[in-house]
Symmetry: C2
Subunit: 365 residues, 2 copies
């Protein structure tokens, strides 16, 4: 089965098998060594000298940690939304009593840094900006470097959901000045789901120390204190650390620049292949993601049948649309363990599925 | 290496390998089937027809879920503590603004149901009782059935940390009237850490609906709504579900009654073996746990050297004491995948370690 969803992504055989190693003591020296090694590896992928903490939770738990450690009840913050996962950040802020201003952009487009600039200029009380780097629900990548420039200019805290970008698309945490960055093991990291990563800048630690939102499991100060002793505050997902340890070796053996280049090349190939079928991409040109491509369901095709047909008839697992996009788009993931062959097979399955559902590729004029 | 700590416990080879199966779509029909099957299996282990929800988090995250869904800011609750994990419940309640009354018993002893009865009679405003079933830090099992009788008599909500008991020691959720029960995958379940289980009675759901503590990742209503569709609200730790699916088969093949009997028999054997060495057990007689035995560090032995010596010299991983018990006790786990041979080897390693550290087994008079 060709798993072409935007996460969980296929886990390389040797990574899966590394996770099946004998269980060990999570408080012993062997595990402390693993924590040290994977933390250093994660920092390299984050391109940061900030603390990077690893939490046993899914990406959404990592987003919650980003909020409850840095946004206090009543805090005014700007939440930039371009899709379902931006809305998730908004919902978490609202849940914990923050006072968010939403700056929404149409689904399918990226955020405009100039409008973020204007919003921050208009309200000096906005303490932080929360933004999605790569919006998995729409296949759009935000111009994070430019957004960060604006946020730095106004000296606000920048909190980034980089769950489906980091390790596949360059994220220069330190060079761009990103304060809090979240990622998740089940994306480009090529590890099974269950671990979240979060980097915290010195400026963010200052905010963390003053933040009054109650937190226990997701308290980052506890995570940092434990990490200094080669431990975690709560029993960690040991087998996923085993996987991560091996997966990082694979990433570094390929070389991060090569990993980014492969993702870009295969994304281009995917987009070209879909356009050649006469399909329309959901994301606007120039905003398209190198990890996931969203495709409009063509007229005359029943969007609710696409993922089932592709899976049961053509051996390919695609993702449908989420929320308001359900039935209107489908999504093709090309991140993590992905090759030319995977993309070719995926494109063939899309073509066959469309044909089966009554779609005819327009003949070029 | 003989892993004789009270969790994470050894993962059977076939369970570890089941976790290395190819990654699948967490929103697809195959995973929905697994969720259905492991949930039914978990309910059988919990001996309940209540909802049982599976969360991607460690046991402490499960404890947090139990608190933030059922204890509102200002709520008066009784927290019964007999060790480190009871204190953890207390700390979580305090963190989220609950108003706890601590009923503390000396470490090494179990809670006295009569004193819980008196505390509840004295304060009708105590809405809930939080209690540890099996206190991993001291090797004591509380008389949960008797405690539940008292709590039922006073008609308060009963919230139980059964992390290190459930699946190894009988916990009759429905027969005893337990409202909220938490367990964790890395104990008797024989699965790697990263999943927590939580059962919720109809009475607890009523409290949950009224509970005003903010919650997002750990919101049980979301978990229930998703479970009804064969999903989870956030990307779950798929590979640990694969493991759980296999581990439950092993548990049921042995038969739960046989599993409980094996744990009791091997606990007795462990205790007898340690007493035969002239060592003193930390837990009072009659209160001793069938999953973990705590042993007093004998006079003249440097308690800080025990776990290291046992591990590096005698191939056995023991646990030290936690918090105020550090250096004063060590702990021997006998839960999950554990056999007569494991206990024999563990006892031999304890004897050799003690001898190496200068301890002489007293000769019988």
């Amino acid at each position: 089965m060709n798993l072409r969803i935007p996460g969980p992504t296929p886990v390389p055989r040797e990574v899966a098998e590394a996770g099946a190693a004998d269980m060990i003591n999570h408080r012993g020296p062997e595990f402390a060594e693993i924590i040290g090694r994977v933390t250093e590896g994660a920092k390299r992928v984050f391109q940061t000298s900030n603390d990077v903490l690893i939490l046993t939770t899914s990406g959404s738990g990592g987003m919650e940690a980003a909020v409850v450690n840095h946004v206090s009840p009543g805090d005014k913050v700007l939440v930039v939304t371009i899709g379902v996962f931006g809305k998730r950040f908004l919902e978490i802020v609202q849940t914990y009593g923050g006072n968010p201003t939403e700056l929404a952009f149409d689904f399918g487009t990226a955020a405009d840094p100039a409008r973020i600039d204007a919003a921050l200029a208009a309200d000096p009380e906005l303490k932080a900006v929360l933004v999605t780097h790569n919006e998995t629900s729409t296949g759009v990548t935000n111009p994070l470097k430019e957004i960060a420039e604006v946020v730095r200019k106004h000296d606000r805290l920048l909190i980034v959901d980089a769950i489906s970008s980091l390790s596949s698309i360059p994220v220069e945490t330190d060079a761009w000045g990103l304060d809090v960055v979240v990622s998740g093991s089940q994306k480009g990291w090529m590890v099974a789901p269950g671990l979240a990563f979060i980097s915290v800048s010195p400026r963010a630690w200052e905010a963390q120390a003053k933040c009054t939102t109650p937190r226990f499991y997701f308290d980052l100060q506890r995570a940092r204190s434990s990490a200094e002793k080669g431990q975690t505050p709560w029993t960690p997902a040991v087998s996923l650390y085993f996987q991560l340890d091996r997966a990082l070796q694979i990433l570094f053996a390929e070389g991060l620049e090569n990993v980014y280049a492969r993702h870009h090349r295969l994304a281009e190939k995917t987009r070209r292949g879909l356009l050649d079928l006469g399909l329309e991409l959901f994301a606007a040109e120039g905003h398209r993601s190198d990890t996931v491509t969203a495709v409009k369901v063509p007229e005359g095709v029943d969007g609710s049948l696409i993922t089932k047909t592709a899976r049961t008839e053509f051996g390919t697992v695609l993702a449908g649309g989420q929320g308001s996009l359900s039935g209107k788009i489908f999504r093709f993931g090309h991140l993590g363990l992905v090759s030319d062959e995977d993309v070719d097979n995926g494109l063939r399955a899309v073509a066959q599925t469309m044909e089966r559902l009554g779609y005819k590729t327009p003949t070029p004029a």
